[in-house]
Symmetry: C2
């Protein structure tokens, strides 16, 4: 199954040559302008250099589209469509295989390798697409049930619509941040106590994370906004990233009735740096872990007839945080706070997209759809601190020598989300989706 490469790639790397995700990078000294690249092992490979160096000459299908590989975003490349993404990705894999059929194009062209290869750790990653609109769904049924139970009790945890449609809301495209961008704690209106008569203006005291997957689109339905059918929905999905939908729970609780979350979400949303193409995840398709109750059969326009359109991707969240020893030194500790799986969703991305467009909503290349928080059904598999701590009532104990615990995030805390499908030597992964909390203005 795993493909061996002439490159030295750690067998635990999320970026095996079976993956080859796409992103946009810059580099302090070698690359001032943003450019599209792919990630392999510890490298980012600049596609414009492969074009310039002739390494793509044996891939006839990409020849008419080389300009798409010299852009500061992936929108033009995405627009080429999934069959071409797959052809090109497999060609790049062939270039990198130990038994490459095209040794002269890259493996044996040291000058080109020197120009095209960057250490990922030396590069800055940028939001890889121009995002027209960003939508966040609520398809993580365990999360929805846990949150509903917290606020309305177990009997009324899920709203009546939940089993019939993927609930979603429009997010803020300007809020999307690349991994590594510091996250400033938001301020806003919060109720100082549940029974308070009036709100105060304060930095959020309940800053939370939300573990999500998100999909970028490679095909629109405009300008007339034709509904997308369930049969064609997959062809609109370019690829996937991990997403941290930072949420200020106290701002949210005060503002969200009746029109939904607003300032509690729009300050920042972090995505992992590399878009894993939909085709790379095809071998890891699976069923949802959630059984749909017989009495809530889906309407035909949403019915996938048990097609395996979910993904078996183990996901983790770790907290990297400062600890203050008695000697006064500042160290960092790390605790893994979540181990879960991308398959814990009630609705697949094709279903989300179909429902999004059932009324004629126009979608564009580069649009981003978030899954909603992904939680498993056990204590260690929850995707938000809200759930882990029972809305701050039960602190989470962290793994360190000084007895640290958390209800919500503190300044200096860094949340790192990771995920990779597959097995050693052939991982299809995302790289870190990372953000550190800095104090409010």
């Amino acid at each position: 199954m795993a493909s061996a490469s002439w490159l030295d790639i750690d067998e635990d790397s999320p970026f095996s040559i079976d993956n080859i995700p796409f992103g946009v990078i810059s580099h302090n000294s070698r690359l001032a302008d943003r450019q599209v690249a792919v990630a392999v092992g510890e490298y980012a490979i600049l596609l414009q250099e492969l074009v310039n160096g002739g390494a793509l000459s044996q891939c006839p299908d990409i020849q008419p589209h080389l300009d798409c590989l010299r852009q500061p975003s992936l929108n033009d490349f995405a627009s080429l469509g999934r069959p071409l993404h797959q052809t090109f990705r497999l060609y790049l894999r062939d270039l990198l295989r130990a038994d490459t059929p095209y040794p002269g194009q890259l493996r044996d062209n040291r000058q080109l390798r020197n120009r095209a290869f960057f250490f990922r750790s030396d590069c800055a990653n940028h939001v890889p697409m121009i995002i027209g609109d960003y939508t966040d769904f609520y398809a993580g049924v365990n999360h929805a049930r846990n949150v509903g139970t917290l606020f309305r009790g177990a009997q009324n945890a899920l709203q009546p619509n939940y089993m019939h449609l993927p609930v979603g809301y429009h997010g803020r495209a300007s809020s999307i941040r690349p991994s590594g961008c510091p996250i400033r704690r938001p301020a806003g209106q919060i109720l100082p106590a549940p029974e308070a008569a009036a709100p105060v203006h304060s930095a959020s005291r309940k800053l939370d994370m939300e573990l999500e997957m998100a999909a970028f689109l490679c095909k629109g339905n405009g300008p007339d906004g034709r509904p997308i059918s369930i049969a064609e929905a997959s062809s609109h999905i370019f690829g996937y990233v991990l997403m941290n939908d930072w949420s200020a729970r106290d701002i949210q609780a005060w503002e969200y009735v009746p029109l939904g979350p607003f300032n509690s979400k729009n300050f920042a949303t972090t995505i992992s740096p590399w878009i894993v193409l939909a085709d790379a995840l095809e071998p890891h398709r699976c069923q949802s872990t959630t059984q749909r109750p017989v009495e809530s059969a889906l309407l035909p326009y949403l019915d996938e007839k048990s097609a395996p359109t979910f993904h078996d991707i183990p996901l983790s969240v770790r907290l990297e945080y400062p600890i203050h020893s008695e000697a006064g030194s500042n160290d960092k500790a790390t605790t893994t706070i979540t181990d879960t799986n991308a398959s814990h969703l009630m609705y697949s991305f094709p279903q989300m997209l179909v429902h999004h467009t059932v009324g004629g909503c126009e979608m564009r290349v580069g649009d981003l759809l978030g899954s909603g928080t992904i939680s498993g059904d056990t204590a260690g598999s929850l995707g938000s601190l809200l759930e882990m701590t029972d809305n701050g009532k039960t602190p989470l104990k962290l793994d360190d020598s000084v007895g640290s615990q958390r209800t919500f995030l503190e300044d200096g805390d860094e949340v790192v989300m990771t995920g990779k499908a597959g097995s050693k030597g052939a991982y299809i992964g995302f790289g870190d989706c990372r953000g550190i909390i800095v104090p409010a203005y």
Copy 2:
């Protein structure tokens, strides 16, 4: 007060030379590409032709920025900032005055006038800015109270947060349509009856309009998303349009708890074609018609200290609809269904913008903020059919010979919103915000 022009301008025109709103047009035979223009009387004046013909030579401030006037959108021009917008608008007014100080630049240059002037009725208008994100507020307090009363009773009409912050939600930038674009009736999930056990997939049976004002931004706060203070908020507002926030009430009722409106709104939102610059409306600033209760004083970050930041703009909605006579002929009838005023808001646009950014949300040039539905407090001044018909229970009688009535919009109905401030010969108006309903797919 009114400025006379050498152009023949109807004294009822919304586009007096005291207005000079900005838009983007194309023309079947004379102008294939979209270009920025201004509206005066029955004309659209193409700015690139004024540049090419030397008509702007006496306006030194615009000289370094002439490229901004040769664009398919107004984003670059907007970015120049309000002082320059004002200088340039007043220069254009001077060019058009009967006693113009620059007669040779335009008035006496017939060749240039022939190239630069188009009849507005021959032109297509386009969405005039590239909209990064679109937000819709709920600042029309009469509307919020009416809708709250319908669904929760008079005692609980307004949520506890309403008097403390401008409630808003993220809309869909891709849904914004220019006036005149047909509006396809959306389909989606609706409950066939209030007590139904499951939804059906159906064309909306409760398609409604919402009368709103909306503001385009000319200044961002990014990329770090600094909160915008109430003192500086006005400098971020480029200008205003009318907006029809089409709403499918049956889809909305089923979907909107807990995360807000989604498919009930994202199929289409129509805006009037010309952006009336903020400075053109300065003479028509006023106080809100709504008294804030003493017990709900605003937090300091929102407090405008009674500055008159609302606008005294009479607004109307008329319905143009087919009537079927006994002889079988199809005629159209017209009924004015709303007369109200833009001052019926609880929060001003500067307050909306300040609240939007209090948590660090990034705003960009071209972002669009809607006010929420504007209703007066009398029967003939309501901004939605939901309110006029008590959610469809009491049909609205229309003014025609065949006794037509409406609960919600029917296919073939055309909604036309208009608004103009000022008085005869000096109106500052918007032109029609128009959309006709076409059948669902």
